[in-house]
């Protein structure tokens, strides 16, 4: 229709037709997705096929097509293994505690930061608290190991102020757990706060003005306007976090743990690395990983469904 009208207006210019076609050009869009699609196929989809080795006694020589099939042997071994239950519990404990702390602390920090009226101060604080998120766990482990050592800064401080014996932060099981959770919260709380700050900046000032007219002080305004405005986004963050209860942060644990505290510190991912790549038990490690991925997948799908139902959240 439209193309026709244009041609009627400018009958001497057939070019228009080809231009109109050019707007669509779906082949060009396919071409643009192609590089990413190919890379994903090679480096994500092909390894998914490698999961089959969880049902084999995989040997590198014959490979995936020549190794003997053993059914669920590795999964049965996994279930009968007390240590596997221990690391699953450790993983849930670390991830669960971090999820709760990483929700509550940024929430309140965002509320407090929202009360800072001096923009320059607010910006400076923001810049500083985001920073640790961008440092790697390798760097931070180096710093932590140094600061938490027996003669390190923290122990010196503790012994001079409280007069107690140095604490073995990274060598004692329960202190190790504390250190893992505390350092993770320290590293991420600023960054996790961004989403709440975004929600805060979206609150209409007229709500506050109306509340002031009605005589509400800042405390009342916070309770009846600010917090209710943050609750939906907090629900989204909490439900989406559900998919992560089997991810306890490999990088952090891997760089801070030691054989001394495996019992309290080992998680599924570090266990898979040691069993799989260091001990060469490819099939068993893949089985453990498959178990973890399968549970995670179910949880992620549930969490996305819930986030959509409760808060209308979609990723794209």
């Amino acid at each position: 229709m439209e193309a026709n009208t244009i041609q009627q207006v400018n009958p001497g210019k057939p070019l228009r037709q080809s231009r109109k076609k050019k707007v669509k050009q779906p082949w060009m869009l396919h071409l643009m997705v192609l590089p990413a699609a190919v890379m994903v196929f090679i480096f994500s989809y092909i390894p998914m096929g490698g999961i089959l080795m969880a049902f084999q006694d995989y040997k590198p020589k014959p490979g995936l097509f020549g190794s003997p099939w053993v059914g669920l042997k590795h999964f049965e071994y996994m279930w009968q293994n007390d240590y596997f239950l221990q690391i699953t519990w450790n993983t849930l404990f670390f991830a669960g505690t971090k999820i709760i702390m990483n929700l509550i602390i940024p929430f309140f920090f965002a509320l407090l930061l929202n009360e800072v009226r001096k923009m320059a101060l607010k910006r400076t604080i923001q810049t500083l608290v985001y920073l640790p998120h961008f440092l790697s766990w390798v760097t931070l482990s180096g710093i932590l190991i140094d600061m938490l050592a027996q003669t390190g800064l923290i122990n010196q401080f503790i012994s001079s102020v409280f007069g107690i014996k140095p604490i073995f932060f990274l060598g004692d099981g329960s202190w190790f757990r504390f250190t893992i959770i505390f350092s993770d919260v320290w590293k991420e709380f600023g960054f996790n706060m961004i989403i709440f700050l975004a929600a805060l900046s979206g609150i209409s000032p007229s709500l506050y003005e109306a509340a002031e007219v009605d005589g509400a002080g800042r405390w009342k305004q916070t309770i009846y306007i600010t917090i209710p405005a943050l609750i939906p986004i907090a629900i989204v963050v909490a439900t989406l976090a559900l998919g992560n209860v089997l991810n306890a942060n490999f990088d952090q644990v891997f760089n801070l743990y030691s054989p001394l505290i495996y019992q309290q510190g080992d998680i599924i991912d570090t266990f898979v690395y040691r069993e799989g790549l260091l001990s060469g038990q490819f099939s068993f490690a893949t089985a453990v990983n498959l178990f973890k991925s399968a549970i995670s997948l179910i949880l992620i799908v549930i969490s996305y469904r819930l986030a959509y139902r409760f808060a209308g959240y979609r990723i794209f």
Binding site: M39, V40, G50, F134, L140, T151, V272, L277, S293
Partner: protein, 290 residues
């Protein structure tokens, strides 16, 4: 009105002081490390250095830059970060542009999107990935560090959500002027997408600079190790000291290690403040939708 009440003013002062202290706490460990690296060996080992260098010296830095392994790792990391970021930006942004189109323009859009999103939800895991790199003959190559993570679906989603906020009029004007998709992408979309491009670049750069684990499993040749992996081996070796209190006294390398850690974190400290003002907008527009 409430700004004038006494209780709010008192709260405000305490709040500002409290938040300032907390944010200083985010910088302090790094600052302490810097001070250790600038001190002479003896007081550093005795644990006397807190937030001021004792016996100021640049010796640790001199020794660090004398270390051939450190320098070659530094170079590998620079190479990896520059090449990896450039490649990832091209691949991810063009894919995100195409996927940001409506389904009536690009019918296969949703199929592609699910094809990508599935890889976010499920993966083969460590061992199959390792065996793939082995079979592809990529061991000990720079590409083993770049290619597996080249497509970051999270970044594609961030980018495409941003691209969808670009006014359609701009695009239509470009089409009427005879531009194709590549030209429209390059001349119209990219210039107006600076916040999200800065965000994604920062994520990718930091990711490459900080990545150490792929170096552990894919690189055997010491001269090809990226800096983060090199640092990791140093820290893990030094790990022994935290197990054996007697060995702590033996920590003659403390200042050198501190200087190495500091240098390895330096590029991030330098780049981050410049991109920081962009990434808040970038993340917010990409993640929060109306």
């Amino acid at each position: 009105m409430y700004h004038k009440t006494v209780s709010y003013r008192v709260f405000s002062v305490f709040n500002n002081v409290f938040l300032t202290l907390i944010s200083v706490l985010c910088l302090l460990p790094l600052f302490h490390l810097l001070m250790v690296s600038l001190s002479s060996t003896a007081p550093a080992n005795a644990g006397l250095v807190t937030f001021w260098p004792i016996g100021f010296t640049l010796e640790a830095y001199a020794k660090t830059f004398d270390n051939a392994n450190f320098l070659s790792s530094l170079w590998v990391s620079v190479e990896r970060t520059v090449l990896g970021t450039a490649m990832a930006l091209v691949v991810n942004t063009i894919a995100a542009y195409a996927l940001s189109k409506e389904t009536h323009v690009f019918r296969a859009r949703n199929i592609y999107l699910w094809y990508f999103v599935i890889t976010m939800l499920f993966s083969g895991g460590l061992i199959p990935g390792y065996i793939l790199i082995l079979k592809l003959g990529l061991m000990d190559s720079l590409m083993a560090l770049i290619l597996p993570g080249l497509v970051a679906v999270f970044n594609i989603i961030l980018l495409l959500n941003f691209f969808r906020t670009v006014p359609k009029d701009l695009e239509e004007a470009a089409f009427i002027d005879g531009a194709g998709h590549f030209r429209t992408f390059y001349s119209v979309y990219l210039p107006v997408s600076m916040p999200v491009l800065a965000t994604v670049s920062l994520f990718i750069m930091v990711g490459h600079w900080n990545a150490y684990f792929d170096g552990i499993i894919y690189i055997k040749d010491a001269s090809k190790l990226p800096l983060a992996t090199f640092m990791q081996t140093i820290i893990v070796q030094a790990d022994m000291t935290k197990l054996d209190p007697a060995a702590v006294a033996n920590l003659s390398q403390r200042t050198i290690r501190a200087s190495q850690i500091f240098i390895s974190a330096l590029p991030i400290l330098l780049v981050y403040p410049f991109l920081q003002r962009y990434f808040v907008t970038g993340i917010v527009v990409g993640a929060v939708k109306e």
